[in-house]
Symmetry: none
């Protein structure tokens, strides 16, 4: 048996590195912001979700790309 | 013996790097936020779980992808 | 079955690492800025969106490139 598989899985793996760290930074600093201003929780949470969405989209695009170009 | 195995396992390994760091940041800063505002523990914990879920999903998708495209 | 796939997916994966972390830093520090000055939310949010847009464009360019040069 030789080496098998598709480079698409490597691409998805790489595409997860940044978003994994990035969303972690958002929520990590976000909970600290909420702890500082609990009454502004709604506003802060909205920003956190917005940032999470645009970052998570990058990884999901990589997931889609892995299926499209699995070759 | 030649090199064997599938690239899918490498892809999953790469997909774990970011989420591993990211969830660490969330809970690390999260427990500090709870230590600062213990009375807001419920709110903070909810945000931490939410952030953890969306990040962990990336690594789980990589696990699924490794089975689909192991070749 | 041998190793398949295109290097284009790897390129996109690499192109996601920086933006994922970068947008995370923007929104992570951004929500902290909003928590510190909630009345300046509009101004801060505008800057966050601007920074996010120019960073996200890098990853989207990588996505487009992955289709153009999949070869």
């Amino acid at each position: 048996m030789e080496m098998t598989g598709t480079l698409a899985t490597i691409g998805y793996g790489l595409a997860c590195i940044g978003p994994g760290i990035g969303v972690g930074i958002i929520f990590g600093l976000g909970v600290q912001a909420i702890a500082r201003q609990p009454e502004a929780r709604g506003i802060l949470q909205g920003q956190m979700i917005l940032g999470m969405a645009v970052i998570e989209a990058l990884a999901i695009l990589g997931f889609v790309l892995a299926f499209i170009q699995a070759g």
